[in-house]
């Protein structure tokens, strides 16, 4: 499969003072296939935000190469092409909104590209409908909730028609409702074919993706499907990451000698497995998302 982003042996460091540097990334290689929904997990300081900033040439690696849609990010003449195809959304919605009206904010990137007005209008409407904020297009951003503002920020990126969208803890400052709104939007984008890279601390978000990469001390230490990653609970504990409560409970019960299926990640899966164990009837019709 075609890779939308490829990092080859990249290293990066930040200056701490005049003589010492902090090594943020050490020889990291990562391939992100087109259309994948990828979650990057890891502690603060593990290097995940630095890696994300390499994906659209906000930073360029000190060693190694990053290719976005096949373009080397070291090629300064192509930076704007890369940014158009790989969009970024950050943690704090208030720091990303520049205009006083929602639709003007979404138009900001397009106007900078010199796109014709009619086309801008079309793209704004499309992008706001995609994130479910079309009804709010004439509102002032400060009247919106955090989740709504974050969806406006996502719309601003989508209006550029990117192939890939990278989000650095987009839900960290949101309440549970806002978090769910943003996750629903990301799942829809993924279904529509956009490559989504999500940096998060929330495991219930990570279990909804295709693939999880875990970073620690500037290196990728694990990569696999959510089922594979959460199958290794002792390792997750050792790197200090959260494990969903249901996964934790099935792990504890298995340690007590009970027979439960491998890799339980959702409320449904655990409830059904326990019902089988206790001899109750399953209710597969109940399709509530975790």
């Amino acid at each position: 499969m075609e890779n939308i982003i490829e990092a080859k042996n990249v290293s990066f460091s930040y200056p701490l003072d005049e003589t010492t540097r902090l090594q943020a990334l050490k020889n990291v290689s990562l391939q992100i296939p087109k259309g994948q929904f990828l979650a990057i997990l890891g502690h603060n300081g593990s290097g995940k935000s630095t890696l994300a900033k390499l994906f659209n040439a906000i930073l360029t690696p000190e060693q190694g190469d990053v290719y976005a849609l096949g373009i080397n990010t070291h090629d300064e003449t192509r930076v704007y092409d890369i940014r158009q195809h790989v969009g970024m959304v950050f943690q704090n919605p208030d720091n990303q909104i520049v205009a006083t009206v929602v639709e003007e904010d979404v138009a900001f990137g397009l106007e900078n590209l010199g796109i014709p007005t009619a086309e801008i209008r079309k793209r704004i409407d499309e992008a706001l409908k995609l994130v479910g904020m079309y009804e709010y297009r004439n509102e002032a951003p400060h009247h919106l909730s955090g989740g709504q503002k974050q969806r406006v920020a996502i719309a601003g990126v989508l209006a550029m028609h990117p192939d890939c969208i990278v989000l650095d803890e987009p839900t960290a400052m949101l309440d549970p409702k806002g978090r769910k709104e943003v996750m629903r939007t990301l799942r829809e984008l993924h279904t529509a074919g956009t490559t989504v890279v999500l940096i998060t601390h929330f495991m219930e978000e990570a279990v909804q993706t295709d693939r999880i990469v875990v970073m620690e001390h500037g290196a990728v230490i694990l990569s696999g499907t959510p089922k594979e990653i959460f199958g290794n609970i002792p390792l997750l504990h050792s790197v200090g990451l959260d494990v969903p409560q249901v996964t934790e409970l099935s792990y504890e019960l298995k340690k007590c000698g009970l027979h439960l299926p491998e890799n339980i990640l959702t409320v449904n899966e655990l409830a059904n497995a326990l019902a089988d164990l206790l001899g109750g009837s399953r209710c597969p019709s109940f399709k509530q998302k975790i």
């Binding site: 502690h43 603060n44 943690q91 909730s145 955090g146 803890e169 960290a172 400052m173 309440d175 549970p176 409702k177 806002g178 601390h201 219930e204 200090g240 990451l241 959260d242 969903p244 409560q245 249901v246 934790e248 409970l249 504890e252 019960l253 007590c256 009970l258 409320v267 449904n268 655990l270 409830a271 326990l274 019902a275 164990l277 206790l278 109750g280 009837s281 399953r282 209710c283 109940f286 975790i290």
Partner: protein, 286 residues
Amino acid sequence: MPIIQTEDLTYLYGVGTPFEKTALNHINLSIEEGEFVGVIGHTGSGKSTLLQHFNGLIKPSAGRVLIDGKDIWEKGANRQALRFSVGLVFQYPEYQIFEETVYKDVAFGPRNMGLSEKEVDIRVREAATFSGVEDSWLEKSPFALSGGQKRRVAIAGVLAMRPKVLILDEPAAGLDPRGRDAILDRICDYQRTQGTTVLLVSHSMEDIARIATRVLVMDKGSTAFYGDVSTVFSHAKELLSMGLDVPQITRVFMRLHEMGLPVQPSIYTVEQGKNEILRVLKERET
């Protein structure tokens, strides 16, 4: 005698404007000394407005707020002293740090209390220890610290006043799991060793289930529930209908209960879940 008490506390925003809104609607609440209260509620449910009444930052539109049995708005009440005894840590408190050094920032509260420099020094060091502020940071500029470190400094600044009631609005928001556990563990230790009454707002039901002794649920400007953790989480259905979460484990046991299995529905930690399943299996064998 309860340490915090409200009588028909009502608060309206924007009185006389088209935006008038009832933020709090006849709240009657009484919180005993030494409780660890987890406060949950939707954005806009009135929880922050309620908490800001407890140290007199907001004056009720109607009703009374009593701290230690005294109406804080009666004539002659000393509200400055009230703010020393009810410490409030806002959301993202690291943005409120302003002094040149960490030491001066933590000392700001106790100095305003008019304490001697010797006593201020004792308070600063004690608060620093409790909140995990290292000695080597004290003479540094707070702006040279990381976000998580700055947050500890901000919390130390409130602890240095030795408040009888400590109120924290989402103290772990935006931190990674390790940082979150570190902050919450320190607050728990502080509460246990000092016997302080703590009110802590969180959106994480798993965290509330783990650390609180009681839970206060706010919904549309009213108190929907106030009780011990298991009682409140046994109302899982009502909580879900208010748009709140319940712990994942609670949802599993609610589901099993609905399927007609002989489990308690009000289970909210992994440990309880494990014991409950083992209990049911054991009973089956006998």
